[in-house]
């Protein structure tokens, strides 16, 4: 067993009075990719928001590489090398595509090198770096979120339904890109998905979340994985 890079212990959190996550424990090894699946309202996005520190934890602890990040705010969590592609409203619509990408980076000098790396995955951005992000279509905005997260070269990347609204060929390219990222840098990934085939292709392990608790987990490469997940999502 590799060392756990991201470790949640008995984490409960939610909105005001209602708890969405209930004493959830989860550990993700360094270099591992874990897909979180589940029906709507089961706490998938809440899990990522809680890790990032957008939501306060009612109980439990979160550790990254042995450091306690339970009480840290989002900007401090991000500085631990955790990138987060949120589901909505995470772009600066009045800034250019380039500025949106640049804001994820610590310094300007690495921009060209990092951009060259993601450019083959998202060729749409190459000639449009000066365009305002707000004028991109919904799917393109989604791509920009993922591109920004990857350009940060995070040690852990949290991806919230990034395939939503993307055309099939882009989803395919994206899966290849994430797999490539894992091979090359050993990036740890936690991804939330409705697109089960995509999730299983990218991840090593899957979890099914129901009412804020993990009700099933297993290897993403097991032949029965898709069927088991489907059974959980149906009922």
């Amino acid at each position: 067993m590799m060392q756990a890079l991201l470790q949640l212990k008995d984490v409960s959190s939610g909105y005001k009075a209602s708890l969405v996550l209930r004493k959830l424990s989860l550990s993700v090894a360094s270099g591992e990719a874990v897909a979180v699946l589940g029906k709507n309202g089961m706490g998938k996005s809440t899990l990522l928001k809680t890790i990032m520190g957008y939501l306060p934890k009612a109980s439990g602890t979160v550790h990254v590489g042995g450091q306690d990040i339970t009480r840290l705010g989002p900007h401090r969590v991000a500085r631990k090398g955790i990138a987060y592609a949120a589901q909505e409203h995470a772009l600066f619509t009045e800034l250019s595509i380039r500025d949106n990408l640049r804001l994820g980076l610590a310094k300007e000098s690495v921009f060209d090198e990092r951009f060259a790396e993601i450019e083959p995955v998202f060729p749409v951005f190459k000639t449009r770096l000066k365009q305002f992000a707000g004028t991109l279509s919904g799917g393109e905005q989604k791509m920009l979120l993922v591109a920004r997260a990857l350009m940060m070269r995070p040690s852990i990347v949290l991806l919230d339904e990034i395939t939503e609204g993307l055309q099939p060929s882009v989803i395919e390219r994206l899966a290849e890109a994430l797999l490539g990222e894992r091979r090359k840098r050993g990036t740890t990934m936690l991804l939330i998905e409705q697109n089960v085939p995509f999730a299983l292709k990218v991840a090593d392990r899957y979890l099914v979340l129901k009412q804020g608790e993990i009700v099933d987990e297993g290897s993403a490469k097991a032949a029965t994985a898709a069927q088991r997940i489907f059974d959980h999502l149906r009922v």
């Binding site: 309202g41 089961m42 919904g138 799917g139 393109e140 791509m143 939503e164 993307l166 409705q194």
Partner: protein, 577 residues
């Protein structure tokens, strides 16, 4: 809340026996100010329009009394004339300011600036009125109603109680939810056919008249009017009282206005400078520590859950008129340009009732822009769009909705702070005007909307607040809201994004029944080709702003164009297998 009301009524009735003359004087003025604070809360706390201008209407009312009584003397007739002047003047200026502030496309910031300009201009006019307005010293010593102090106290107290009661009935009623909906998401309101500018103008006129009447009372009671009564300093004080008391609570601003007026009357004479500092500090502390104001803190423990949720019932769908069904949607030569960037060009598209057209194309092909051009007359740069036979010209979305259009946005577009039931009620408000002073115990939605609510479990979450719903539930709520409009043409921009496969299948069968059973014309943007295949009756392919292909699913999916630009290898391989 009932208890608080009873204490309030007891104080109003018994006041003259409990309070001294000085305090009664202060309270009468405070009551008139509190009435204005309530109108500020209605405009700012509930509708989201930050206004510094209510003092201007208060001043107009006060000066109506002052000017008429000072120059024409006090008779019963002149009193009536002054009252008429107060009402007419505030209504007229309210309508003018409303029209200026809320015309289509005006930003909230612009409206607030106008509200700042109004009291400043008015004060300048009063200052330059010479002997006629009394300039900076105002008008004093005019004859007015000869009433004992107790009577004034009862009049002011009753007026305040009445305004508070009416206000609280309105904000709790179904119509009051519309105000909050405008605050939360004005664009969604217009796409539900609500004429938001008109609602806001009517509200501003009504609150202006109420503030004017309070000013008339103040001017008649005190026998003194001064330019400060219409100034923006007073307008800002109203904002502070509302914020301290708790905006969006009505009772908070009422208490805030009364308590701070009384406190400042006692303290400002004994420590004029320190008092301003104390008030300023209190404001900062409340804004930092209790951004909701004091009132929510006091009443939260007392609140026993919100009123019961309404019962969901099935509403009969209107029969479709024959001519609506044929050629529900016609687009001829439609184009859209952003500067040099041509997003759409030469779009010719027709769709009939009973059809479910799947609109596919690469990300950035212009699919969402196309939907925008169908639903807002000001969007396209060339071409003609007809909805159910009506040319949309440059009409706004609310008019397009009234022609029979319903639009589901790509990202869930709902009313964050409202409950599921309230969101649906507002969606039905074009069909069924919401009650102004009451909450209906039933919530009627058409059968297909009901189906969406049941399938996604929302039917059991009617009193949940929309922003606490998951992403997928929000998507489903928006879909149900759009269907509650009973549209004849439905634009669906990725309606199943964020839903599980099972939910997608269920929503899919509802969508296809919309077209096949109910004869609606549906246009669906979707990336899941299998899903499109299952439900669409025809496919339109958009590529680089033009319609590249139209036809049956088989024609389109097997074309080289779609395979190369869109589907990717897996899907092509599946098709081949």
């Amino acid at each position: 809340m009932m208890l608080l009301g009873l204490v309030g009524i007891a104080l109003v009735v018994l006041g003259p026996w409990v309070f001294g003359t000085y305090l009664l004087n202060i309270l009468i003025k405070a009551f008139f100010f509190a009435i204005v604070a309530i109108t500020v809360d209605l405009l700012w706390g509930y509708t989201g329009y930050l206004t510094f201008g209510q003092s201007a209407f208060f001043g107009i009312g006060a000066y109506a009394a002052g000017l008429v009584f000072a120059h024409a003397g006090f008779t019963m007739l002149s009193a009536l004339a002054a009252l008429g002047l107060a009402v007419a003047g505030t209504a007229l200026i309210g309508a003018l300011v409303g029209w200026l502030s809320f015309y289509r496309g005006a930003s909230p910031f612009f409206a607030t600036v106008i509200s700042l300009v109004l009291p400043i201009v008015l004060t300048q006019l009063l200052l330059s009125g010479g002997a006629w307005t009394g300039s900076s010293s105002g008008l004093t010593g005019y004859e007015t109603f000869e009433l004992p102090l107790e009577a004034w106290y009862w009049i002011a107290g009753t007026a305040l109680a009445l305004v508070a009661l009416l206000g609280s009935l309105v904000v709790r009623s179904d119509a009051g939810q519309v105000l909050k909906a405008i605050r939360d998401n004005e664009s969604r309101c217009t796409y539900l056919g609500i004429r938001t500018s008109r609602v806001k103008i009517v509200l501003l006129v009504a609150t202006a008249v109420v503030a004017g009447l309070a000013g008339f009372g103040y001017g008649s009671f005190s026998g003194v009017v001064a330019p400060e009564l219409s100034g923006f300093v007073l307008g800002t004080e109203f904002i502070i009282w509302v914020a301290l008391g708790g905006r969006g609570t009505l009772w908070g601003p009422l208490l805030g206005a009364v308590l701070i007026s009384v406190a400042s009357a006692y303290l400002s004479s004994s420590m004029p400078f320190v008092w301003q500092l104390v008030l300023g500090c209190a404001f900062v502390v409340v804004i930092v520590l209790l951004p909701q104001g004091l009132m929510p803190l006091l009443i939260r423990p007392l609140r026993r859950g919100i009123a019961g949720e309404p019962a969901l019932v099935d509403r009969a769908v209107r029969a479709l008129v024959e001519q609506d069904a044929a050629q529900a949607l016609v687009m001829e030569g439609v184009a859209k340009q952003y500067g040099h960037l041509k997003v759409l060009q030469g779009i010719d598209l027709t769709a009939d009732g009973g059809q479910l057209a799947g609109l596919i194309g690469p990300n950035g092909a212009g699919k969402t822009t196309l939907m925008r051009c169908m639903s807002d007359g000001s969007e396209r740069t060339a071409g003609v769009v007809r909805l159910c036979g009506h040319d949309i010209r440059t009409l706004p979305p609310e008019q397009c909705v009234r022609f029979g259009l319903g639009r589901k946005f790509q990202n869930a577009n709902i009313f964050d702070t409202l409950t599921v039931a309230a969101c649906l009620r507002i969606a039905g408000s074009v069909r069924e005007r919401p009650a102004l002073f009451a909450c209906s115990p039933v919530l009627a939605v058409p059968s297909y909307a009901l189906e969406v609510l049941r399938v996604t479990g929302l039917a059991g979450k009617l009193s949940a607040v929309a922003k606490d719903l998951s992403h997928g539930e929000q998507q489903a709520l928006e879909l149900a809201m759009v269907l509650t409009l009973e549209p004849k043409i439905v634009l669906l921009d990725e309606p199943t994004a964020g839903l599980t496969k099972t939910e997608r299948t269920q929503i899919g069968s509802i969508l296809s029944s919309l077209a096949l059973r109910h004869g609606l014309c549906c246009l669906l943007v979707e990336h899941d080709l299998d899903f499109v295949h299952e439900i669409a009756t025809r496919i339109v392919v958009l590529h680089q702003g033009r319609i590249a292909m139209q036809g049956s699913f088989e024609d389109v999916a097997h074309s080289e164009l779609v395979k190369t630009i869109y589907a990717g290898s897996t899907h092509a391989a599946q098709e081949a297998a």
